[in-house]
Subunit: 233 residues, 2 copies
Amino acid sequence: MPDVTSERTETDHEVLAAVLQIRSETLQVLLWQRAQQPDRGRWALPGGLLGHDEDVQTSMLRQLEDKVDVREVAHIEQLGVFSEPRRVPGIRLVATTFLGLVPCDADPTVPEDTRWHPVAELPPTAFDHAEIVRDARDRLRAKLSYTNLGFALAPQEFTISELRELYVSALGHPVSATNLQRVLARRGVLVPTGEVAPPGPTGGRPAALFRFAERRLRVTDASAVLRPPNVGD
Amino acid sequence: MPDVTSERTETDHEVLAAVLQIRSETLQVLLWQRAQQPDRGRWALPGGLLGHDEDVQTSMLRQLEDKVDVREVAHIEQLGVFSEPRRVPGIRLVATTFLGLVPCDADPTVPEDTRWHPVAELPPTAFDHAEIVRDARDRLRAKLSYTNLGFALAPQEFTISELRELYVSALGHPVSATNLQRVLARRGVLVPTGEVAPPGPTGGRPAALFRFAERRLRVTDASAVLRPPNVGD
């Protein structure tokens, strides 16, 4: 096996983020319109070249700062490496990609060249960025089902009905509010705040407000049998 | 934002795999001993530089061929990017890492410089490779709890008691055979082969043999409420 420290290749490395937010009950992604060739006029994910003295996560957060107030990104995680040799014309560019999530009640200021686009109806995209957006959507959908990741889409406090709307928008299929509450409460993901939402225009019984117990990712749906035993088990 | 196609950096890119197998009821990882500086004599993960005309997965499989018959690797997936600027002395080297799994009944031939080592008692390791091994172990443990990933550790057919031993070795804590069978059967992960195992030396009732319904990764523990509704729901 060749020793990695005694050979060199010439590969550039970039970082790219698919930042998702539910806006107008639709899962959307932040894209900017390329002003230069190649792929001028096409829409691209925020990102850029990895700097000499930073790791990929530091680089990603630094480069996102150009597009969005990163304090509004509630969660970011590595998505995967995109490395098809001809993914960007003319140079060898390997991309480390990230999934970022912005809660629905944030409305970050974005630059002139940048807009939110529905994930289901992307404009013409640059390079392999549409594939990265699809992977980000699929990762989000999978993790909503076995983790507490909903915290990163939701406001600090919400009614079950509001949370259900967010899950429906993210998952793309119907979800029962009753089941959602039962499942998330049983797993200890949601806790009631003790407050109720202000009554809507049509009156009716005021709805209880909830919050996520934790705003940090964890696997919530691991089968109890495979967890470490607790004292008393 | 700088345009990624108009700037260059000098980053090398390598791929590394933490290939895990349960051997002697212990979770073990495949490492080779470095013959050159830096870190001469220390143990390293198999891998090497990304070639000009291959993506990271192709490269990983090609480089694993030097160490192990890759037909015996039942599952491989991207683990993450390791990119701390000083992770390897003297050069800027970004690593895409993989988790690989070998079923316990395979006994791949490995080169002279290569050995299996218990994950819990690693020898002196090169660079950040111990951290990569820990991440691989943690990914395996997490996925055993919400996917069918056990298929990649188990032989084609097994008794529940044999499967339990594998889960215990991988998870590092006790698991009840009864609960394991109940949970995996309910999720449709395991199916009986209809055969029984040959009786052991002490006789006793012959144990039923099972196999994994699918030998391809899928999330099995997603809460039903968050799955797409089926006809009739």
